[in-house]
């Protein structure tokens, strides 16, 4: 009984740690989206870090779950409507915009009737 409960405890802890890491990652990216200048971002990021550090030593699993849920709700509430997307990624400004092929390259559309 003790082994299974320990394993259950560890699994739940690991899942919580992963949720916190991903929440911190998304929140940090969102902080960068909201910050107009880099020097504003640094202060906001350290504030965000302090909010995470404040609950670092909480031990009770249910309390941790509640804190994570609160954090995720707060993240979803303040999420940036138009976040920065890397240009090549889906939604980015260069997504599926390919350079024209070089001179002399001709695309022949045979639609399945190529001789090979």
């Amino acid at each position: 009984m003790s082994f299974s409960s320990t394993a259950g405890y560890l699994a739940r802890r690991a899942a919580q740690k992963e949720r916190v890491r991903i929440l911190y990652r998304r929140a940090l990216k969102d902080t960068l989206n909201w910050a107009v200048h880099r020097h504003l971002f640094y202060r906001d990021a350290s504030d965000l870090r302090e909010r995470f550090e404040a609950n670092k030593h909480v031990e009770d699993l249910d309390t941790i779950d509640k804190l994570i849920a609160d954090g995720e709700a707060s993240y979803n509430k303040w999420r940036h409507p138009d976040p920065y997307i890397v240009p090549w990624a889906p939604g980015g400004s260069k997504f599926t915009r390919n350079p024209t092929p070089p001179e002399g390259i001709e695309i022949i559309y045979d639609y399945g009737r190529e001789d090979h």
Binding site: K17, R21, R25, R26, F52, I85, V86, A89
Partner: protein, 126 residues
Amino acid sequence: MALRAAVLRHLRVPVQFFALARRECQPPLCSGGSLRLFSSHDDHLTKDEVIERVLSVIRCHPKVDPSKVSPDVHFQKDLGLDSLDTVEIVMALEEEFKLEIPDKEADKIDSCDLAIEYVYNHPMAS
């Protein structure tokens, strides 16, 4: 007119001569002679360049002791960072190489050699 066209068709000017003569009086435009095409993604990073840039990013993190950084360190075991610092480093790497790493994959990157491997194998790293 026909004569002029015929002459022009057969006239060959040694371009190299002019290029050499011009190089003597003004410095070359791009040092090293390498031409970089801004629209191309064919110029993949070399492994050495990836390693060097990843290490410089990690050294710049305020909680890292720069003398301990080497290509095979583990962020939490060797550098004494916690999981949130790891998240910050991975985000700094994303900005350095102009990447967008999905959350689940970024979560797996917890050591320097994994980061180097991921960036080196990413087709859009630049």
